[in-house]
């Protein structure tokens, strides 16, 4: 029988977000199989509600200012070459012939773009490029707790390279099952769901 290590593993951009929060998340979730129980967190549930609402409301509205020609909702894509799969809130076709992912965040815009959100957009961009064959050189984030503030994020070839490297690092942990170093940002541990079992 084929060893588990050689089973095709696919990752989601959410897992990458968790990895960037702390690499040990991947170990606890993917190697030990301990769930986060995030569905018990109020903010997660509210965020899901906002996503559902967004799908119903303003369906026909095209963001003309951003040069949007077409919107597709909740598009599920996979890129086996990069061991990546994921569902994108909106896939936009832009006037300049390129495409872009748009992601809703149940969060406040705090005048700075977090690395995790940025990487998530880059991975969505990678999925779109692989499946639609069109260039993706920007993405959009909508902060629903700041009156739907839209932030445009430029995506460079360097960003794609870095994102693929991160994917490789996560696959490495998943396949070899080693305990990675925890994040150096101690304040993240305060609110981590694995803090009681993380030595």
């Amino acid at each position: 029988m084929e060893s588990l290590n050689h089973e095709p593993v696919t990752l989601t951009p959410s897992e990458v977000l968790e990895y960037l929060f702390c690499p040990r998340y991947i170990y606890f979730m993917n190697v030990l199989g301990i769930p986060q129980r995030e569905e018990k967190r109020y903010k997660v549930l509210r965020g899901r509600e906002v996503h559902r609402e967004k799908q119903i409301r303003n369906r026909a509205y095209l963001r003309k200012k951003l040069g949007v020609l077409k919107r597709e909702f909740n598009v599920y894509l996979s890129a086996p070459r990069h061991h990546l799969r994921g569902q994108i809130d909106e896939v936009l076709t832009l006037a300049d012939g390129s495409m872009a992912p748009l992601d809703y965040k149940f969060a406040e815009w705090k005048e700075r773009l977090y690395r995790g959100y940025r990487t998530q957009l880059v991975l969505y961009g990678l999925l779109i490029q692989e499946n639609y064959g069109k260039p993706v050189n920007r993405g959009f984030l909508v902060y629903t707790r700041s009156q739907n503030h839209v932030v445009a994020v430029e995506i460079t070839p360097q960003d794609y390279k870095k994102a693929v490297e991160i994917l490789r690092a996560i696959l490495d942990i998943t396949r070899h099952g080693f305990l990675p170093r925890r994040t150096t940002a101690k304040n993240r541990c305060l609110d981590c769901c694995y803090k009681n079992i993380c030595v």
């Binding site: 967190r41 109020y42 903010k43 509210r46 305060l190 609110d191």
Partner: protein
């Protein structure tokens, strides 16, 4: 972060629900409509969102005050007030 939650809620049901939320968040009732305890930034944000979903913003008032330890040490308590050490987790267990 030490956080005060102080409220004035007109209707009984949301008032009880807010009190329950505060208790569930692990902070202590120090007066009838006043809770105090140690919460991290995410817990404060979450509690604020939960309370906002319950209250009537036209009639009710809720204050969520984070307070640094230094300022808390200057707080003066008179009469039948709470024990400061209980709030700051200096006493972790209470045997009666």
């Amino acid at each position: 972060m030490l956080t005060w939650v102080i409220y004035d809620i007109v209707k009984d049901k949301p008032r009880t629900q807010v009190a329950r939320l505060c208790q569930r968040a692990g902070i202590m009732r120090v007066q009838y409509s006043v809770f105090l305890g140690d919460l991290n930034a995410n817990e404060i944000d979450e509690l604020g969102l939960q309370i906002k979903a319950l209250i009537n913003e036209e009639t009710d008032r809720v204050y969520i005050f984070p307070m640094c330890k230094e300022d808390f040490s200057k707080v003066r308590l008179l009469g039948q007030a709470f024990d400061k050490k209980l709030i700051t987790n200096e006493i972790r267990e209470l045997f009666l």
